[in-house]
């Protein structure tokens, strides 16, 4: 039982990270119909920022600095991607542009940091473990779960309860109508794109002590984020949260209980959801068309 509890906690930590990463992907998709294939690369930028700034035994200050630097780098990349994709209206072209950016960024990272697997230490004060129901569990992962909860609440308040959030939701639902009301939707789109990318990069830093940083990680993360978005429903914040928690659990419990079939399980979960609810579990209320 206790070992399963550890898996559940692992799943929650993974779910928190996946939520941070998938949120931007989902919102950008819902708003602009842009599939940002560079999302995984942005995540990897964050992870390598952590590699550069957080040395072994570094304190909380270095880690916070890394988070801020990654957020800034992610926001810049996101704004760049938004500007690039707005230059063309064809959806396939937009996806290809982001794919090109993904290749360039991933290759630039491997140029700068080499192809080795880097591990990142959790900041010193929370590097240890704590006893949970008789099992030792890393404090850092509990903090990541806490971060996920805080993020979910913050995003809920921002998107569902603030004027800015209503503009964002309205832009997902009907961009032309929002523009007709005199709101600069272009600025909203760039802002959401940049914020989503910044979150993905922060996710890269926070995931550092759990997943490390290595070439190819961007694809894995992109795949998981895609599955989360597909399961949750395109353009839906609550869907992204539910999908992230589900996939986190499927991954963690799957790895613990059926290690041989863990990768089938994620695919199986996606196929099952698509079979029963083709639009995802919690599609955006307005029926985002794609």
């Amino acid at each position: 039982m206790a070992t399963h509890l550890v898996s559940v906690l692992n799943g929650l930590a993974m779910g928190s990270l996946l939520f941070a990463i998938a949120l931007g992907l989902s919102l950008v998709f819902g708003m602009m119909d842009v599939l940002n294939l560079a999302h995984g690369a942005v995540y990897l930028v964050g992870a390598y920022v952590a590699v550069a700034l957080v040395s072994d035994g570094a304190g909380v200050a270095a880690f916070v600095l890394a988070v801020l630097a990654a957020a800034a780098a992610g926001a810049v990349l996101g704004a760049l991607l938004a500007a690039l994709t707005r230059a063309t209206t064809h959806h396939l072209d937009q996806a290809l542009l982001t794919l090109g950016v993904a290749l360039v960024v991933a290759e630039a990272l491997s140029l700068a940091f080499g192809n080795d697997v880097h591990s990142i230490a959790a900041p010193e004060p929370v590097g240890g473990g704590v006893t949970v129901l008789g099992e030792t569990y890393p404090v850092y992962r509990l903090l990541v779960i806490g971060f996920g909860v805080v993020l979910a609440v913050a995003v809920y308040v921002l998107v569902e309860r603030s004027p800015l959030g209503s503009v964002i939701r309205a832009t997902v639902a009907d961009r032309a109508m929002v523009a007709a009301l005199g709101i600069n939707t272009g600025r909203v789109l760039v802002g959401v794109f940049a914020a989503g990318a910044a979150l993905a990069a922060v996710g890269g830093v926070l995931a550092g002590p759990i997943l490390g940083a290595q070439p190819g990680l961007d694809e894995k993360v992109l795949l998981l984020a895609l599955v989360v978005v597909v399961i949750g429903g395109l353009g839906s914040v609550r869907g992204a949260l539910l999908g992230a928690v589900l996939i986190g659990q499927v991954q963690a419990l799957g790895t613990a209980l059926l290690p041989e079939y863990a990768s089938f399980l994620v695919f199986g979960a996606m196929a099952l959801v698509l079979l029963l609810r083709p639009a995802g579990l919690l599609p955006a209320r307005t029926g985002v068309h794609a």
Binding site: F29, D33, V34, L35, L37, L84, A87, T88, H90, H91, L92, D93, A95, L96, L97, L99, G100, V101, A102, L103, V104, V105, A106, E107, A108, L111, E219, K220, L222, L223, L226, V227, V229, V230, L234, E260, A262, S263, F264, V266, F267, M270, A271, L274, L275, P278, A290
Partner: protein, 357 residues
């Protein structure tokens, strides 16, 4: 004339694919602007030229060209989906990988016969596409791209972790292929000829499909699905059919790829392969068949040959090419030639229309 007018009217109803459909009337097949006989002569000349390559080139470039041909087969399948049917796919590498794994498993355990291996690759690619495709074909456009990417990457992950097929180490130890029970084909040139023959066959078969009534149905779906449904066609079924067909084509490509390399690893079916296949289609010009083949050769040349001379950073170049192609050549290589012929066609069509009224 009627078909052209039809196509022009159909265009306005298809905001999704204006860049490909505006300039391509419904009746155009691959290279439709060349008269039939000239097209046949060009095709024979190209195949003859390709067949002569091993006689003058050393084994290394010949095996590089073999890989290009096998990759071109995959790219033809992607083009069938992306260009002809308007379903951009990032998941075809999965079926390519299924074909490659099948060929290696058949080669190791059953027979070195190249034909059996290629057929097995075809069947398994078809089956894999049929099993996973029904999820994807319900979607259109960018959602389809996303679903195929998710499916393709999932299959890749399975290959990467499943120890029965070697996990991340892949499968090695495939014996050299043979044909008709003959001796093993060890020389690079013989393998090349076999791959060239199959690739030419696949090209011809796909060209036949594209110019058949079914191919016209597919292009109709791409340009205006609502109208096709109103006319009594069943777009979902047609899309499912072409998805299975593209899977089979990719399976053959994978088998050929494995026969050349005599080794397969999960890297052969990853995201990069899928992305490069799509890039080849876009570079070559979606909807044309020869353009993407040229694109495939170009992309593999940059990745495998040029990459070594610039410190192994081919992906950097390819990423830049991606971005450049979108901005500079929206219709790909195929769009560069024949623009004048097309303009002439359009103006003459307009003139005829004016005369008629």
């Amino acid at each position: 004339m009627k078909a052209e007018a039809e196509a022009m009217r159909g265009d306005t109803g298809a905001p999704q694919d204006t860049t490909t459909s505006v300039l391509e009337p419904l009746r155009s097949g691959p290279g439709a602007y060349l008269p039939g006989r000239r097209r046949a002569v060009v095709a024979v000349a190209v195949v003859a030229l390709l067949a002569a390559a091993p006689l003058v080139l050393s084994p290394y470039p010949v095996s590089a060209m073999t890989r290009m041909l096998a990759f071109a087969v995959l790219v033809i399948g992607v083009d069938l989906l992306t260009g002809v049917t308007g379903l951009p796919s990032l998941g075809q590498a999965a079926y390519f990988g299924v074909g490659a794994y099948t060929a290696v498993l058949v080669g190791v355990h059953i027979t070195p016969d190249a034909m059996v291996q290629a057929l097995a690759g075809l069947v398994m690619g078809l089956v894999a596409a049929a099993v996973t495709g029904w999820v994807a074909v319900r979607a259109r456009g960018i959602v389809f791209l996303m679903l195929t990417l998710a499916i393709g990457e999932s299959v890749h992950q399975v290959a990467d972790t499943w120890s029965a097929v070697g996990g991340s180490n892949g499968l090695a130890g495939m014996p050299p292929i043979s044909l008709f029970g003959g001796p093993s084909l060890l020389a690079a040139g013989f393998v090349y000829w076999w791959v060239l023959a199959v690739a030419a066959l696949v090209f011809a078969a796909v060209a036949l499909v594209v110019s058949s009534p079914y191919g016209r149905t597919l292009r109709g779906i791409r340009d205006n699905e609502a109208r096709m449904r109103a006319l009594g066609y069943r777009p979902a079924l047609a899309r499912y059919g072409v998805f299975c067909l593209a899977g089979a084509v990719a399976g053959v490509g994978g088998a050929l790829w494995a026969q050349q390399a005599r080794f397969v690893s999960p890297g052969d079916m990853g995201f990069e392969v899928a992305a490069l296949a799509l890039l080849s289609v876009v570079i070559g010009g979606a909807g044309s068949l020869w353009g993407p083949c040229l694109g495939a050769a170009l992309v593999l040349f940059v990745r495998d040959s040029l990459s070594a001379s610039i410190g192994g950073h081919g992906p950097l170049v390819l990423g830049a090419v991606f971005i450049a192609v979108v901005f500079l050549m929206p219709r790909g290589l195929a769009g560069l030639t024949g623009t004048r012929a097309r303009l002439r066609n359009l103006t003459s069509a307009r003139r005829r229309k004016e005369n008629a009224s």
